[in-house]
Point group: C2
Chain length 144, copies 2
DNA sequence: TTAATAAAAGATAAATTCATCTTTTATTAA
DNA sequence: TTAATAAAAGATGAATTTATCTTTTATTAA
């Protein structure tokens, strides 16, 4: 479904969001530990997300990655997927035709766009605020 | 969503199924032309599908790939995806956790399994018979 | 100012996916 | 039987994704 890059990115951002509640910055070491991902690779991904203003970072001692708590409700999972995997998941043909459109649909088109739309809506409607609630923190896991 | 292998495989099998209506065998050349896919690569994919009894093949002059018309309603897209991409799309965690299960769910689990299940059902309920109907042949495209 | 810390940036490497090319095997018709 | 045809099998190569390592830059506290 998503690339490894996107999977790690989503998990990392959710973890950072959960720390935002306590206004804490977290280092790459802590993050990759918490989500069980390759550290250097995860660092590269967070670099991309920083450039794209999804998260923020500060260098040096006491530095790390963080998200302004006030923005938690503005950032949806769709934004992260967009940055890391582009929009092929939202607009691409399920059978790999160069263009997905109603005029020249592939045999799966009308069934496929429904699922694609549901996925899109789900990602758009799921914000970091929701995922960093106390209940979310208690009930869900970022590694296993 | 699907790998290139799976995309080409699905398109190829649908094309072969459409020819089954007229009891015709089709060569790899014709197939890759019809679905706009790399020929040698598609041949490898069809080899796998033949081994897995999704389609049949005969070597030599007047040979080619074909599907017994009577089996068109037995073969669902899920069978093809299973052979080419395995079942990670049906059972894997959306955020890439090693195991997807209700006991230790990722933050996206309950939203994700809904979409995953819809995709699964859609693929299970879509048979080659449906996709090789006259209407399907008239209305849909396998390349663009 | 200096030493320590941590992310950014850049180079490189491993693994996987995507793709092609060559040789072999099976089948057919002449 | 022979030549032609077409898929199977195997080897190899290119591209992309995944991952690591090294150097640089920014920040902090002593
Ligand atoms: S054309 Fe294939 S999904 Fe739209
Ligand atoms: S645990 Fe992530 S989707 Fe089920």
């Amino acid at each position: 479904m998503f690339s490894k890059t996107c999977e790690y990115g989503l998990r990392a951002v959710i973890f950072i969001a959960q720390q935002a509640k306590t206004n804490e910055k977290v280092g790459i070491n802590t993050i990759s530990e918490a989500i069980d991902s390759p550290q250097a690779f995860t660092a590269k991904i967070l670099q991309q997300l920083t450039k794209n203003k999804i998260i923020e970072s500060i260098k040096g001692p006491y530095g790390g990655f963080f998200i302004d708590e006030k923005r938690l409700n503005k950032i949806a999972l769709s934004n992260i997927v967009q940055v890391l995997d582009g929009d092929s998941i939202y607009t691409g043909c399920g059978l790999g035709l160069h263009q997905c459109n109603d005029k020249k649909p592939c045999p799966l088109h009308f069934k496929f766009i429904e699922i694609r739309e549901n996925l899109k809506k789900m990602l758009e409607n799921t914000t970091l605020l929701e995922l960093s609630s106390d209940k979310a923190l208690a009930d869900y896991y970022l590694k296993n």
